[in-house]
């Protein structure tokens, strides 16, 4: 018998799907390609929104979700909420949004009208105006139905929240159940469709951020919405930016039963699954109770929970299981792939 294995393939010659999946591969692409070329102090901060010298916060995002309609929303809802949330987590009040559309020749006008109406509704809900836009149409087959880019602008009243303000001793609060959006979208995907009562959690999170800032006073250090890559991706950003070590408590992490069920079936972890309406907050302990109470009495934060804390020894993310054991929560390479058996 021979015991052997293949040679490594250490770099990518082509862009692959993992480069857009919010995991390690995407982080590497951003560092080696984009940051290397565009490097400047604002970009280097790596927060969800850049805070410009005049206290405006700006963030941009592209939306290519498939399918474009899913339980609880559509690509238009996401395009507004996703971007205003990225602005809001800096502590800024979102004010203006721009919208760019790439449309595939032959795309249904009825669908487009529904998407645009959803965008208007979401913008009203989030208190922003859509003030500039762009439209491009590409030949059939050169794009998949519709892609949307939105850029959001918001104004800061106080100091910006930032991952660089995280300190050992901070507590971590999550604003509700994890994985709802990702499971709702996956349940509709071709080849993977399954029945679930889960709907996307996409929502404007500005109110929750402001509640935290008001109630937590200066104790709120950093805030992120746990989108692509889920909770685990956010926590790795926290740990890396602040050079800290994060300890979570499995029993305290809120996950809806139907999401757990779907994740068990697919062989993936809800903590790695995308959300579109959930915040993760790093807050000094003295402010945590007030914020938790305020969130729990808000419709978008009823199931908020303290899920862990920040330590100073080492860098990384570890979870204490229900059995008193520990395991590392590694940053996945890319989108979780359903397993074989």
């Amino acid at each position: 018998m021979k015991f052997v294995c293949p040679v490594p393939r250490l770099k990518y010659d082509q862009v692959q799907m993992v480069h857009g999946a919010g995991g390690m591969a995407m982080g590497q692409l951003i560092d080696d390609m984009f940051l290397a070329a565009f490097d400047n102090p604002l970009l280097r901060c790596r927060d969800d929104a850049a805070v410009l010298p005049n206290q405006w916060a700006v963030s941009t995002d592209c939306f290519v979700v498939d399918p474009i309609f899913f339980p609880g929303g559509n690509i238009g809802t996401l395009a507004i909420y996703g971007t205003v949330n990225d602005v809001a987590v800096s502590g800024a009040t979102p004010r203006y949004v721009t919208a760019g559309f790439i449309l595939e020749e032959g795309f249904s006008m009825v669908d487009l009208r529904v998407i645009v109406a959803s965008m208007r509704e979401a913008a009203d809900d989030a208190g922003v105006q859509i003030v500039a836009g762009d439209t491009k149409v590409v030949p059939r087959g050169k794009a998949d139905k519709i892609y949307i880019n939105t850029t959001g602008l918001g104004i800061l009243q106080g100091p910006a929240l930032s991952v660089h303000r995280i300190r050992p001793g901070d507590l971590l609060i999550v604003s509700g159940t994890l994985g709802d959006h990702g499971i709702a979208v996956m349940s509709q995907r071709e080849g993977l469709s399954f029945e679930t009562d889960v709907t996307s959690d996409c929502a404007a999170l500005f109110d929750l951020v402001q509640l935290a800032v008001d109630q937590g006073k200066g104790a709120v250090h950093a805030c992120r919405d746990a989108t692509r890559g889920g909770l685990v991706a956010v926590l790795h950003e926290f740990a890396q930016a602040s050079h800290t070590f994060i300890q979570l408590h499995e029993a305290q992490i809120p996950i809806r039963e139907s999401v757990r069920g779907a994740c068990e079936m697919l062989g993936i972890d809800a903590m790695n699954v995308a959300n579109e309406g959930k915040l993760v907050l790093a807050i000094a302990p003295e402010g945590a109770d007030a914020v938790l109470r305020a969130w729990q009495s808000h419709p978008l934060g009823r199931q908020s929970a303290i899920i862990g804390e920040i330590h100073d020894e080492g860098v990384g993310v570890v979870i204490n299981t229900r059995f008193g054991t520990q395991r590392v929560l590694d940053l996945p390479v890319g989108e979780p792939l359903p397993r074989i058996c």
């Binding site: 018998m1 021979k2 015991f3 052997v4 294995c5 293949p6 040679v7 490594p8 393939r9 250490l10 010659d13 082509q14 862009v15 692959q16 799907m17 993992v18 390690m24 591969a25 590497q28 080849g191 993977l192 039963e257 757990r260 069920g261 068990e264 062989g267 990384g316 570890v318 299981t321 229900r322 059995f323 008193g324 054991t325 520990q326 395991r327 590392v328 590694d330 996945p332 390479v333 792939l337 359903p338 397993r339 074989i340 058996c341």
Partner: protein, 363 residues
């Protein structure tokens, strides 16, 4: 959650751990055969709870890990053909072939699609009559019945644009080969619960008798693994070598005879090469003559590919329970899930990936 929480109950777990500590007096080397069990063990930190006298070694039961390089290279050739829609379970896409992997082929324009069931691939063939839909039929006895069903259904419908690239392997011959090896350390097996669900526990009787090792068909939840360990250690301490069934809520002695029948209708037993381990006689499944038309390798005249696996990583030793992942010099440095050297680092069921993902460290 029903049928999950009951088997992850911290109090039940504590009780089983206490029992295991009470009954373990000697040192034992125990192999859990299935990658799903390895995953559960590392994820729930079971190694941190059990007596240090019990050494858990991780078995070859990871279908992605043992699929031979030649088959993978054939899959990559097929996936790159413009007339082919290549369908596969998700895990296979990142496993390195000789020069590429399926994910790379996809990024270069190959039509590679993840399906959750081979029957979805059959449906795709129905939907795309002008394309050749190929399904990568890999796995153990667990995936064989649905893969057999897909071929059966395609034949019944007269679908001429569906075929399968077969790389099925069987667990008992591999367990036997490990025990027969001169450097074997395994003293007892936790057999793979889902394989036993299909095939029953009877195929293990001759193995237990011939090699004098106890075998316990075991499930995948923390309480399953711990109860399986209690049953196995009791046998070892008492000097018994019986086949027992921990996973009684799923496994019957005779297994699922309907599923077995469909597998036998479509497949016959053949010699098979295991990646990282080598050839094992009568350890795989191939399509029977009546279904040969659905064999992608012959439909596309792939013939024999000459492949060489450079001796870089040591996943063969890991798959045989001879080496712990963290004892491999490449583990976590040259070899990570992002840039795997071997399949054991790619699949979520591979021991190296489980150790890496959950940060298992030497005791």
């Amino acid at each position: 959650m029903k049928y999950v929480d009951e088997f992850r109950d911290p109090q039940l777990v504590r009780g089983l751990v206490d029992r295991l500590h009470r009954i373990t007096h000697h040192s034992w080397v125990v192999m859990e055969v299935c990658g799903g069990q390895t995953h559960a063990i590392v994820k729930h930190g079971i190694q941190q709870m059990i007596p240090s006298k019990i050494e858990l070694v991780h078995g070859p039961g990871c279908p992605v890990c043992v699929t031979p390089l030649e088959l993978l290279d054939k899959a990559i050739i097929l996936a790159a053909r413009p007339d082919v829609v290549f369908t596969s379970f998700g895990d296979m896409l990142r496993v390195p072939g000789s020069n590429s992997d399926l994910m790379t082929v996809k990024s270069q324009g190959g039509d590679v699609r993840i399906v959750y069931s081979p029957l979805d691939a059959v449906a795709l063939a129905r939907k795309l009559p002008h394309k050749q839909v190929v399904f990568f039929a890999v796995g153990f006895e667990t995936t064989a019945p649905t893969n057999a069903m897909a071929v059966w259904q395609a034949k019944a419908e007269g679908l001429t644009n569906f075929s399968v690239l077969v790389s099925h392997v069987l667990v008992p011959p591999a367990m036997t080969a490990l025990l027969a090896a001169s450097d074997n350390r395994v003293q007892g097996y936790l057999a793979a619960g889902h394989v036993c669900t299909i095939m029953g526990t009877e195929p293990y009787e001759p193995i237990a008798a011939q090699y004098k090792v106890p075998i316990v068909a075991t499930g995948f939840e923390p309480t399953d693994v711990l109860e399986g360990l209690c049953m196995l250690v009791s046998q070892l301490e008492e000097g018994r070598c019986d086949v027992e069934n921990q996973y009684a809520r799923s496994v019957r002695a005779t297994g699922n005879t309907l599923a077995q029948k469909r597998v036998q209708d479509v497949f016959e037993i053949t010699d098979r090469n295991w990646r990282g381990i080598g050839p094992i006689p009568l350890s795989g499944l191939a399509l029977r003559d009546a279904f040969k038309d659905f064999d992608a390798a012959s439909r596309f005249e792939l013939g024999h590919l000459d492949v060489h696996e450079p001796e870089v990583c040591q996943s063969g030793l890991v798959l045989r329970g001879q080496l712990k992942p963290y004892d491999c010099p490449a583990f976590g440095t040259q070899c990570t899930p992002q840039h795997p050297l071997g399949a054991t680092m790619v699949s979520s069921e591979g021991a190296c990936a489980a150790y890496y993902q959950y940060g298992a460290v030497p005791p």
